[in-house]
């Protein structure tokens, strides 16, 4: 598995460039346009990320996070979810930068290749900032009554969290 995954990135880079070449895309020009967009959008989250990382670090160091997680952990240990990922599950549907800050702090404490690190990676990668997406899309067309949208989106999110643990167990043991 590990060895195979080394091939992923070079293969993708190769395929994209070959694809662009045959489609006669101006390769370097398009690359720089895209890279500039990426640079701008990465740094555009800087103000909120500074605030949120400070807040998350404070929350962790003050012991508030421990109190929060220990209240929910009985339910999680029943489902086999590591309690360290509880704050991530609570924050991810609301804030992208906030959950990024949490994953960063989980990696710092446990390492990205630990069980907890992997579960956090999958949780982060397999879910979206649900409430944000709902607000943006329904807000754009002025829809007031969203019917079962929130309920179903949250069902999908919760199953994502449970499945993250399951698949990490299955694929890395």
């Amino acid at each position: 598995m590990t060895k195979l995954s080394f091939y992923i990135l070079p293969t993708i880079v190769f395929l994209i460039i070959i694809f662009g070449f045959f489609k006669k895309v101006p390769l370097f020009d398009s690359f720089t346009v895209g890279a500039k967009e990426g640079l701008i959008s990465t740094f555009s989250i800087a103000p909120s990320l500074i605030g949120l990382i400070v807040a998350v670090t404070m929350l962790r160091e003050s012991g508030a996070l421990d109190i929060l997680t220990s209240t929910i952990s009985p339910v999680c240990s029943f489902l086999g979810i590591p309690k360290e990922t509880v704050p991530l599950m609570l924050l991810k549907p609301i804030s992208g930068s906030g959950s990024l800050a949490l994953v960063d702090s989980i990696f710092k404490s446990f390492g990205p290749d630990s069980f907890i690190g992997r579960v956090a990676s999958v949780m982060m990668g397999a879910t979206e900032t649900t409430f944000y997406a709902i607000a943006v899309y329904f807000g754009a067309v002025n829809i007031k009554n969203t019917r079962h949208a929130v309920k179903c989106a949250l069902i999908a999110d919760i199953s994502s969290f449970i499945l993250s643990v399951l698949f990490v167990r299955l694929l890395f043991s």
């Binding site: 346009v33 990465t42 807040a55 019917r147 994502s160």
Partner: protein, 181 residues
């Protein structure tokens, strides 16, 4: 969160740690961004080549038959279905900047044929489920963050991520279908 932390620190006598968290947190945030910015830009640059080469359109064609079944309220060639296809493929390729405007366009097109303009119809909710379950072929941000923290193989979680988001999407679709009635 900050107020809660300070109150909690008073109770648990952790004020020293909280103080250093304020000092270190801001620096951490900028370090995190700087360490990710290079790879994120490289990636968006490469994806721009794919996008201009028409990869989004090619993939969109591939998904049409599946989407036709999930959005029965709209004819196959309607602008709504086209926008939905483009949005889902842009998400799949991790083109967040392109996906959101396409998604808003899709919602506007869907609302044109909506009977009550302030109530979401079934297709709109199905579309939201697609957008909240985040199917992404290469989760770039996650891989970069793993790399930064010294992961031996930053990509080895991709199969687990794909399986998880695919299964949760299916669960979401089933939940939506049941709630429709």
């Amino acid at each position: 969160m900050i107020i809660l932390s300070i109150i909690c620190a008073i109770v648990t006598d952790n004020m020293g740690k909280v103080s250093s968290a304020i000092l270190g947190g801001a620096t951490d945030a900028i370090q995190l961004l700087i360490s990710m910015a290079g790879m994120m830009s490289l990636w968006t640059g490469l994806m721009k080549i794919a996008e201009l080469g028409g990869l989004t359109a090619i993939l969109a064609k591939f998904f049409k038959p599946i989407l036709k079944r999930l959005f029965p309220d709209y004819p196959e060639d309607s602008p709504a279905i086209k926008a939905i296809c483009m949005n889902i493929t842009a998400n799949l390729l991790g083109l967040g900047n392109a996906a959101t405007p396409m998604g808003i366009k899709a919602m506007k097109e869907m609302n044109k044929l909506n009977k009550d303009k302030s109530v979401a119809n079934n297709s709109m909710i199905m579309f939201i489920i697609f957008n909240t379950s985040s199917i992404q072929l290469i989760p770039t941000m996650m891989s970069v963050l793993r790399q930064k923290h010294g992961s031996i193989s930053p990509f080895d979680v991709i199969p687990a991520i794909l399986l998880t988001s695919l299964c949760s999407l299916i669960i979401g679709i089933i939940a939506t279908k049941i709630s429709e009635k």
